[in-house]
Amino acid sequence: MYFDSLTALWHMDGHGFYVWLAYALTFLPVAVMVWLPVRRQREHWRWIAAEQRRADSVQADMTDK
């Protein structure tokens, strides 16, 4: 480890603001970029499952009558 303390790591001899801002502005969008398609696929998946249940119940009603 190059830095002696957490304060030194945070401060980085005056460059801490720039370095940490750059890392934050990288990893936040990256996290969103990975999470969005995961969420989108899950939503589609749920929608299809709901459609299947609906179709199944219609089928069940038809056979009852």
Binding site: M12, D13, G14, H15, V19, L21, A22, V30, I48, A49
Partner: protein, 245 residues
């Protein structure tokens, strides 16, 4: 080889294959990013002239490198979709566009933040930065163009043409620091000959470049899978998968 390529064009096969790839590649990507960032931020020594601000290199350079490489992926997929009318190529092209846009934006933003303590300015209209900005607009253009068309077949064709025409920008970006006078430094890493960067700084950088390549691949695959699920919601194979889950 040809059977593999042929299989890639089949949505059910691709969906299963990409599922396995993502399951391993996503954790690997996160580990590489964490290790690379920790190495670059905590372990690597500071630059003797720039001090600690140079640590931005570990995200700036990988983001820029992969943003450029990603454009080739998008344009190549566009060409395949245009020539052979393969649906999967069209899905790949559109999955790559937003990922490339985010990486280009990250390269521009981190470059601006790095520029402030190093050059004394957030932004200069020099060749490298301006051509990267054009790259961002090309990526965003592909995303926007697809949304603008009601007819999605025509939309995909227009996007493919736009991405192919845009490839002319890529060599300009590569060469911009050599062709024009610029504040931006030329490349420090060379495939042939000695790199102008010490190995204590080079290894974490190479690790981060690998991590960003993995990140690009995994995000493109995730985008494609989300798209496939929606496009094939009526298809038997997908109905079967949803039932089994």
């Amino acid at each position: 080889m040809w059977t593999f390529i042929h299989k890639m064009g089949s949505p059910p096969w691709f969906f299963r294959f990409s599922g396995t790839v993502v399951k391993w590649l996503l954790p690997l990507t996160l580990v590489l990013l964490a290790v690379g960032a920790a190495w670059g931020l905590l372990v690597a020594p500071p630059d003797f002239r720039q001090g600690n601000s140079y640590r931005i290199i570990y995200i700036h350079v990988p983001a820029a490198v992969v943003a450029l490489a990603g454009y080739y992926v998008m344009a190549f997929a566009g060409a395949v979709s245009l020539i052979w009318r393969i649906k999967m190529a069209d899905v790949t092209m559109r999955a790559a566009a937003p990922v490339g846009a985010v990486l280009t934006a990250v390269a521009l933003v981190t470059g601006a933040i790095w520029g402030k303590p190093t050059w004394g300015t957030w932004w200069v209209w020099d060749a490298r930065i301006t051509s990267m900005l054009i790259l961002l607009f090309l990526y965003l253009g592909v995303v926007a163009l697809f949304e603008a068309y009601e007819n999605k077949t025509a939309a995909a064709r227009a996007c493919a043409v736009l991405s192919l025409v845009g490839t002319v920008n890529i060599p300009i970006i590569y060469k911009s620091v050599d062709w024009w006078y610029s504040l931006h430094q030329p490349a420090s890493i060379k495939f042939t000959g000695e790199s102008a960067i010490d190995s204590s700084m080079l290894y974490p950088l190479l690790l981060m470049i690998a991590a960003f390549y993995c990140l690009f691949a995994v995000t493109v695959l995730l985008n494609m899978r989300a798209e496939l699920v929606w496009n094939h919601r009526e298809a038997g194979w997908l109905q079967q998968l949803v039932r089994e889950a």
